[in-house]
């Protein structure tokens, strides 16, 4: 059906508001979350923004001025977001999505402030995830904001894993912190002596308790653990000197020193005494794995929020750039559009916006996935306990079988309804372990992909946003604090596990068969999307995902020119780029799915419906731009990996054999006229050859790859047209008169 010209011409009318976000990020029916967003936003755009505008970022110390933030977080609900209603919170059920939304709002203005809020949750997280019931009840309630009429300052926490060099950094096993038995009277609770030095510990300027990772230095304690230290414990609780950070100055960071005596009941998760030895229920590694699984998602969202926050100030700067100049008379293009008459500034802003969208889509999708996964994980733990399986090999063995059924379920779900065996689907879905295996395998990839891609690539793209403001971009006066936001992004890429840690996790989790089965169904799903929404770039993305899968399967079995296996842990040159490529794909996919949701559910909301045709066109174009960018990146990475480990043919030996000899060509010319003009690698009678590295690498074994890559390149068709349209929309969209927070 032909689209009426009036509809085809519809484009973005205003910047997307809350109604649009609620549909895209799926919280239209969550009033608790909508209120949280409003409340945290108002704190961010008043208290936080004023702090930044007043120069509070210009000191390393935790000042009384910065300390206002804590009260502000307590009041607006940002502190309580982590707690259950009976502990003083206000949100029922899992809180990953809520935390991601609150972080998004704070980071929109200042990511340091967002970190300050998050670090409190990070400190509580080990207790929340693995603490005993008493530990959970005690610390969660004491850390909750005071109720009306209650005279109490909430406890603040810090999470201390990282240690001074040469100990814990990326490698969390190199623990220098130690725990020993100080006193152990028969029949009584042992008292432990803890020695721990931290490096770069957030919230240390004011924390009342610290969850610290320590190793046993006593044969009466087994292995490592995480332990809770309090500022009133006997001994030294030295907050240390503030870290001279260049970034996130609205969070407090220092290198603390602890030498304290604490009861053994502070071991997170508790302990048992076996043959006179204290055996912590969880090692520090186990606690950390459970913690970081959740807390890394909001960090990714942080950087993406900043990219989206840059759109409005950049447009305003561009439009007003020449106003007031003699040559720019009101009503002229220069006056009305300013820099926006130039295509490049619009194209680059499209990139900034698309990256911000894709990152947010990925981050929020992952947070929502964890909200689904958390209760299942509890069920799984209970089931395993019932079966008497306590992790390790026996769990691994059990999941070998569960995973088979999970793969079966994934494949069944992907079938058209008519062909699906619903009875079997219901049977498989009835098993919480199967459902757990499906979601857990996806989260294993999506969580590190969020942390890695949103922050790392986000930092690079944030630089583009800064350059779009010209010199203003790198001044303190830049509206939207874009310069700060760019610098800050580097920390977001580093703390809570820098990029290497995420890539390492990705390269392990991408091999999970249940993940790979889902990945294959996602490709099919995208093709279906493409058949109804061809302008979203979904087809191109599906082709890029296909190329990635081919590359992965090839690398798993292939060897390099020296016969060494390619896909293996130590070979980060192979596994890490493949992880990067996968992250690009996951981000673009999430974005496409959110655009689809907008088009599907938008009409149900009167406000969204009002401008939906234009909004949808714009978002399809933006998604298309992102898919094209992802496809380009994936094509490049995969090509390097597939071809790059082969030895280039040389003019000697085997390589030479594949070439035509000049004389041979002359003879063939009689049989196949014109062959001489096609043959590129010809050896002359005197042994001379064309001036280049060697005969072209034919890579016979990966011809399928070449076909897929060529196809992918062809799939880029139309993507620049989409970019042109999106850019044009940015020159027309209506923006507010002024930014809603001080600069």
């Amino acid at each position: 059906m032909a689209v009426p010209a009036s509809v085809a011409a519809e484009t973005l009318r205003t910047l997307p508001g809350d109604d649009v976000r609620q549909v895209m990020w799926r919280f239209s029916d969550r009033y608790d979350l909508q209120m949280l967003v409003q409340s945290v936003r108002s704190a961010a755009r008043s208290t936080v923004a004023r702090l930044v505008a007043d120069g509070a970022r210009n000191s390393h110390e935790w000042t009384p001025q910065k300390n206002e933030l804590l009260k502000c977080f307590d009041e607006c609900g940002a502190t309580g977001v982590f707690m259950e209603p009976h502990q003083g919170g206000f949100i029922e059920g899992p809180k990953n999505f809520a935390m991601a939304l609150a972080t998004f709002e704070l980071a929109w203005v200042d990511a340091g402030a967002a970190t300050c809020g998050l670090a409190s949750h990070l400190a509580l997280s080990p207790i929340h995830e693995r603490g005993t019931q008493e530990q959970v009840d005690k610390y969660m309630s004491l850390a909750a904001p005071a109720k009306p009429g209650e005279d109490r300052v909430p406890l603040r926490g810090a999470f201390a894993l990282t240690e001074p060099i040469p100990y814990v950094g990326v490698d969390t096993g190199m623990l220098g912190g130690k725990v020993r038995v100080a006193e152990w009277e028969p029949g009584k609770e042992p008292i432990l002596a803890v020695e721990k030095r931290g490096r770069f510990i957030t919230n240390m300027g004011f924390a009342n308790f610290v969850a610290a990772a320590v190793d046993s230095a006593d044969e009466r304690i087994k292995g490592s653990c995480m332990i809770i230290l309090e500022d009133s414990d006997p001994g030294t609780f030295d907050r240390g000197t503030p870290t001279k950070k260049l970034v996130h100055q609205l969070s407090s960071t220092s290198d603390p020193i602890f030498s304290l005596r604490v009861p053994a009941s502070r071991i997170i998760g508790g302990y048992a005494v076996k043959n006179g030895v204290i055996v912590p229920k969880y090692s520090h590694d186990e606690v950390i794995a459970a913690v970081f699984k959740h807390t890394r998602v909001p960090v990714g969202v942080m950087t993406s929020a900043k990219l989206l926050s840059a759109v409005e100030p950049v447009i305003r700067y561009q439009r007003g750039r020449f106003r007031g100049a003699e040559q720019a008379k009101p009503g002229s293009m220069r006056y009305e559009l300013g820099l926006q008459v130039r295509q490049d500034v619009l194209h680059r802003l499209v990139d900034v916006w698309a990256t911000g969208e894709a990152g947010s889509s990925l981050g929020f999708a992952t947070a929502r996935l964890f909200d689904e996964l958390d209760p299942l994980e509890k069920e799984k733990t209970a089931i395993l306990a019932q079966k008497g399986i306590a992790g390790g090999k026996s769990e691994f063995k059990l999941f070998r079988e569960v995973n088979q059924r999970a793969v079966e379920l994934v494949k069944l779900r992907a079938k058209p309804e008519a062909e699906r065996d619903e009875k079997r689907v219901a049977e498989l879905e009835a098993d919480p372990l199967v459902r757990y295996a499906v979601l857990d395998s996806a989260s294993g990839v999506l969580c590190p992909a969020t942390k890695l891609w949103c922050t790392g690539n986000g930092a690079t793209v944030m630089r583009e946003a800064v350059s779009l403001m010209g010199g203003y971009g790198i001044t303190e006066d830049c509206p939207g604090f874009l310069g700060n936001k760019w610098m800050d992004a580097q920390l977001e890429a580093t703390y809570e596990g820098p990029e290497a840690v995420q890539r390492r996790q990705l390269s392990v989790c991408m091999t999970n068969e249940v993940f790979l089965a889902q990945y294959e169904t996602w490709i099919k799903e995208l093709r279906q999307v493409a058949s109804v929404k061809p302008d979203t770039g979904a087809c191109e993305l599906a082709s890029a995902m296909t190329l990635w899968l081919y590359t992965y399967k090839h690398l798993v079995v292939a060897t390099d020119a020296n016969g060494e296996k390619l896909f293996q842990g130590p070979r980060q040159g192979v596994t890490f780029p493949l992880s990067d490529a996968l992250s690009w794909l996951m981000a673009a996919r999430s974005f496409v799915l959110d655009v689809l949701e907008l088009e599907r559910k938008g009409p149900e909301n009167a406000v969204v419906a009002e401008g939906l045709p234009g909004l949808a066109h714009f978002y399809e174009d933006l998604a298309h731009v992102q898919c094209a960018r992802a496809a380009g990146e994936v094509g490049r990475i995969c090509a390097e990996l597939v071809y790059g480990y082969n030895k280039h043919p040389a003019w000697e030996g085997e390589g030479r054999k594949a070439c035509y000899a000049a004389q041979e060509l002359e003879e063939l010319e009689d049989v196949i006229p014109g062959i001489g003009s096609y043959a590129v690698d010809v050896i002359g009678k005197d042994g001379s050859h064309p001036t280049k590295a060697g005969p072209c690498a034919s890579c016979v074994s990966v011809q399928d790859f070449a076909a897929l890559r060529t196809k992918l390149d062809g799939c880029l068709t139309g993507s620049r047209l989409a970019k042109d349209r999106a850019a044009e929309a940015l020159a027309k969209v209506m923006i507010p008169e002024a930014l809603d927070y001080p600069a």
Partner: protein, 269 residues
């Protein structure tokens, strides 16, 4: 005194930071993209609501309703912020809230809604609203509403209400020259069109929000369309008030110097 029944009438307006551009729609003037622009509670109605909540908190047995006529989906969005500020019960009417609707039709719809509140008791009733509106300010809606409710004790430009020991209410209304006129009314029913009042905007409190939301969402769901429009009104021309925004970022400028510049700028016109 067993408490007041305070009914605040207030609707939404586009966020004042947005670009407001009058254009002609199919049934008269509208603001460009109005439905899509973020909205806020009309600031004048906001003052009325916060004063109402304050009075209710100080007078045990009192209750606050907010009667709001506006596009349902937009009112809902605004409630996510306003609903966290003070306790109230929402009565929602679905209809246009722009600056161009007829004050008579709006007042009639509001009067019907107030009358229909279950258990409403004239002997306790205080009707609050803004004496102005950030969208157009017909300057007539509240008066007509009062007449329709047969409330003849009406006060406009109110900045303060103080219950007296004998049950009467002392009310401060703005008059010329920064002065207030002090009146005493024997007691409810009365209608008060608020100026700014004296209270700051209460901060958001998600706990209050969660409690309010139990009533707000059902109210929005069952809100009925209100038949209001431009009536017989004909607009010959529509312009924005002449306003000029000249922003300049200054740092370390003494306040006296800033004040001097502002005075100079104002006196230019």
């Amino acid at each position: 005194m067993s408490g007041y029944q305070i009914v605040v009438c207030g609707s939404i307006v586009p966020d004042p930071l947005q670009t407001l551009e009058p254009v002609t729609g199919p049934s008269g003037p509208v603001l460009k993209n109005e439905l899509m622009l973020p909205a806020v509670l009309d600031p004048w109605a906001g003052h009325a609501l916060y004063e109402a909540a304050n009075l209710a908190a100080k007078t045990p047995g009192s209750k606050v309703w907010l009667v709001s006529l506006g596009p349902k989906a937009k009112v809902q969005q605004v409630m996510m912020a306003v609903g966290q500020k003070v306790p109230f019960e929402l009565v929602a009417l679905d209809g246009p809230a722009g600056g161009f609707v007829d004050a008579h039709e709006t007042a009639a719809a509001l009067a019907d809604a107030v009358k229909a509140i279950p258990g409403i008791d004239r002997t306790k009733l205080l009707v609050f609203g803004g004496w102005e509106s950030a969208s157009r300010g017909a300057g007539a809606t509240l008066q007509i509403l009062g007449e329709r409710l047969e409330i003849h004790d009406q006060f406009q430009g109110v900045d303060q209400i103080a219950p007296q020991a004998d049950g009467s209410l002392e009310i401060l209304e703005r008059v010329e020259g920064g002065q207030h006129q002090i009146s005493v009314v024997a007691g409810p029913p009365a209608l008060l069109g608020w100026a700014t009042g004296n209270l700051p905007e209460p901060r958001n409190n998600p706990q209050v929000g969660m409690a309010n939301m139990r009533g707000i969402m059902p109210a929005l769901q069952k809100s009925k369309p209100a038949k209001v429009g431009t009536g017989d009104l004909q607009y010959l021309a529509v312009t924005l008030p002449k306003a000029q925004r000249e922003t300049r970022v200054v740092k370390n400028m003494p306040t006296d110097e800033i004040a001097r510049e502002i005075v100079e700028w104002i006196s230019k016109d």
